[in-house]
């Protein structure tokens, strides 16, 4: 939507009536939205620094485009503050890359939702939650950035349930699925550093998440025990594919792993090695395919790939692992990739890197 082509609706100067109007237009996710009043949307879009008609993402199948102006309109409706806007913009610029497969991951019966993981100093600057109730409600930035991405998918890219969004069941993350990486007491380099961004530069990682699997382990006291439970969740028959993984370690679990001196890379290696099923096991549930096995075991396969087994992912680098959540509780989580594997690959991007100012 170019700013010149932006359509403006005149509605009675009454907030509740304006909220009702938004419902009547079919602009909401089922919850009330903040009416996108012109001056506030303009202020949101101006936060980026580029012209509001700048296109930041394109739908590969329909040709629909997302401008900064349209992103700002939906961000405001979701309840975002202007300082959140650079995160949302970077997230969609990352989703715009072909390997994310924007169309498939939002249209498929698999029902994935774009998980947004924010890393770096912007987390505290805009007041995101990386701590207790990480995936739950209560924090404005987390909730509204995630919600804005859904409103954009619905309103701009027209991914309408039952029409172009054919999710069989969907998942709760389709309302909002945005978290921050916890820096406090994190023994590992933050994701933004591991991804190669300079000091002080924050990043956003986007991932087509197929749901949420809580991994409870209050008895394990070694990295092998804690990670063994997580690997088992990753390898469950309902989830195992060649797809990527996101693992968010509870601080309680991370303390065990960090105190034992395990690095992120060693942790990834362990998870990849253990998150596997035998060929016979895969056949027992009807999910074995020669083509997938051959792909994983072809020349150049990762050194940890074991003959006779199908691992989750193609190698340890397919597992994003970091820490988040409250201090208490042995509850980590595994988030499977969308549907059957490698149809969408996670992407990351520096926040604010494309803007002239913010």
């Amino acid at each position: 939507m170019s700013i010149a082509a932006a359509r403006i609706h005149e509605v009675p100067d009454d907030l509740l009536s304006a909220i009702d109007f938004c419902y009547q237009q079919g602009w909401t996710d089922g919850l009330p939205v903040v009416p996108p009043v012109v001056d506030r949307v303009d202020a949101m879009a101006a936060r980026d620094g580029r012209p509001p008609e700048t296109v930041i993402a394109r739908h590969p199948a329909t040709g629909l485009t997302l401008s900064l102006h349209a992103a700002a309109t939906n961000a405001m409706m979701a309840g975002c503050l202007p300082e959140y806007f650079p995160v949302l913009v970077a997230a969609f610029e990352a989703m715009d890359r072909p390997d994310f497969n924007f169309h498939g991951s939002t249209a498929s019966t698999g029902g994935s939702a774009p998980l947004i993981v924010v890393s770096g100093p912007i987390v505290d600057e805009i007041g995101m939650n990386a701590d207790v109730n990480l995936f739950g409600p209560g924090n404005r930035a987390n909730s509204t950035i995630g919600r804005a991405s859904r409103l954009i998918l619905r309103n701009v890219f027209q991914m309408m349930p039952g029409v172009s969004d054919k999710s069989t069941q969907g998942n709760p993350g389709k309302y909002s699925f945005c978290i921050a990486e916890r820096a406090r007491d994190n023994p590992w380099p933050l994701l933004c550093t591991a991804q190669g961004y300079p000091d002080g530069v924050s990043s956003v990682t986007v991932y087509a998440g197929g749901g949420f699997c809580n991994v409870e382990n209050h008895g394990g006291n070694t990295p092998e025990q804690v990670l063994g439970a997580i690997a088992d969740a990753m390898a469950n028959y309902g989830c195992i594919t060649l797809g990527q993984s996101v693992v968010i370690l509870a601080p309680e679990h991370m303390r065990i792993i960090g105190n034992a001196g395990w690095s992120r890379e060693r942790t990834q290696d362990f998870l990849f090695t253990r998150a596997k099923r035998s060929v016979d096991g895969m056949k027992s549930v009807g999910k074995y395919r020669d083509s997938e096995y051959d792909k994983q075991h072809a020349a150049g396969a990762h050194r940890l790939v074991e003959t006779g087994f199908l691992h989750r992912g193609m190698g340890p680098d397919d597992i994003l692992v970091t820490m988040g959540g409250g201090d208490a509780g042995g509850h980590s989580c595994f988030i499977p990739s969308w549907s059957r594997g490698r149809g969408s690959l996670m992407q990351h991007k520096a926040i604010g890197a494309s803007a002239n100012s913010n």
Partner: protein
């Protein structure tokens, strides 16, 4: 109160259908396999019916690396040059 409309206008691109074949007799078929579990089996079955009923011939089998992404343009361009019509389908 003045509200921006948050929805997109229709995409600015023109899509046209290929001209309909006058008949199917003796035509060449391309199969576009999307890689789903049973796609190639289902599509070959469909092609067999065209062979039996209309004397068609399967001339090319094309593949998508990702079932849910649009077919690469060069794949479609090549198919358009090599065959008279293309069969595709999900095959789940």
């Amino acid at each position: 109160m003045r509200l921006y409309d948050p929805t997109s206008a229709a995409a600015k691109r023109t899509l046209t259908r290929a001209a309909r074949l006058a008949d199917l007799e003796g035509k060449t078929i391309g199969i576009l396999d999307n890689g789903k579990l049973n796609a190639i089996e289902m599509l070959r079955e469909v092609a067999t019916l065209f062979e039996q009923r209309h004397g068609c011939t399967v001339k090319g089998v094309y593949h998508k690396s990702n079932a849910s992404a649009p077919a690469p343009k060069n794949t479609l361009v090549a198919a358009a040059k090599e065959v008279d019509f293309l069969i595709t389908g999900l095959g789940d």
